[in-house]
Symmetry: C2
Subunit: 181 residues, 2 copies
DNA sequence: CCATTTTATTAATCGTTGATCAATTATTCT
DNA sequence: AGAATAATTGATCAACGATTAATAAAATGG
């Protein structure tokens, strides 16, 4: 319930508007109460983000086996883009929320992103021979890093004006496919 | 002088440690004074960041004409990596500082990054025919976005543990060259 | 050299934030 | 019912960004 209200605040006014007091007021409690549920603000945001990543995971269409790598990868990238477009503030919290320098990302959060990485991995899997597992992993990571950069800049409004999310992601996928097929 | 002290604070303890009061104390003034020089904290950080980008620009080796695209691009990427490694906190401020939602990036800052984009553009220029200018620009932007993602995740300590800055950037350059040569 | 205007600087203050904790209220268990 | 446990509050702390009236310093002109 606290998480639901927190998500709602983020959705409406962005993660920077999510203060303990406002969240407490929203759910009819006091700010001190929240520290029984969450260790601190970082923890609170991280829990919301975990949910957001789960939503993204569910939003991704699982691809029938017979599709080509090209289509599967483009489709997955498009799922990312459409999700980010549909939930800009929640996605921004995932990408750009400034955790404290000493914050340790929880294992649950790691698992959640690993799930998404696995989707990427599956999509490009048939480009690699079994003995190229290492290279495949590196490509997955690389794609993830690059996607992250595009989304981070897009959220901050620092992408080139005339090009959108989607166009930049398309260019990335094109580049990747040009190199690997 | 205020900027120098601000940079020193960032260098030592990160941009999150840069408060108006601490900076004022450092230079023997009062916090209110700083608002005569800077519009607000965003402005202060942005000014420091502009300096950091200028430092990075100076740090990049200008390449003699006879080098191959491969070498020029790798060298430039390596300059980015070595600079980020040498100035982790200042670089983190450039990449990850959370500006207020309504902050407008100044023209000077834009020019500074355009200068860096121009370096990238020069490095890959001979891969493109004159009539492919549009594609070249898109590739420059794409490389920039991807580099940004790698650095953002690296700064936040969210890259895969066993791989460093440099390895991820190398993979990116490899992918790019594989696609375009 | 004094007086006046302009500039530089301060100190106090406001509203807000994340976080803590003793005191209080509600709940559960025997 | 009464004791033990859990839930919740409200006050409080230190720090933050930002503003502003008041003060000190410097510059200017006669």
């Amino acid at each position: 319930m606290a998480l639901k209200a927190a998500r709602e605040i983020i959705r409406k006014d962005g993660v920077s508007a999510l203060s303990t007091r406002r969240l407490a007021r929203q759910i009819g409690y006091t700010s001190g109460m929240l520290y029984q549920i969450f260790r601190n603000r970082d923890d609170l945001v991280e829990q919301v983000n975990i949910g957001t990543l789960a939503m993204l995971y569910d939003h991704c269409r699982t691809d029938p086996r017979d599709l080509s790598v090209q289509i599967r990868l483009r489709r997955l990238a498009d799922d990312f883009v459409s999700f980010a477009t549909a939930h800009p503030n929640e996605w921004d919290a995932v990408i750009n929320y400034p955790f404290s320098p000493d914050h340790q990302t929880s294992q649950v959060a790691h698992n959640q992103t690993d799930q998404l990485l696995a989707l990427l991995c599956d999509a490009i899997s048939e480009l690699y021979e079994p003995e190229q597992a290492d290279r495949k992993q590196r490509d997955v990571r690389l794609l993830w890093n690059c996607l992250y950069g595009i989304f981070a800049l897009a959220s901050a409004g620092r992408l080139t004006q005339d090009r959108s999310h989607g166009a930049a992601v398309d260019d990335l996928i094109d580049l990747f496919l040009a190199a690997r097929t």
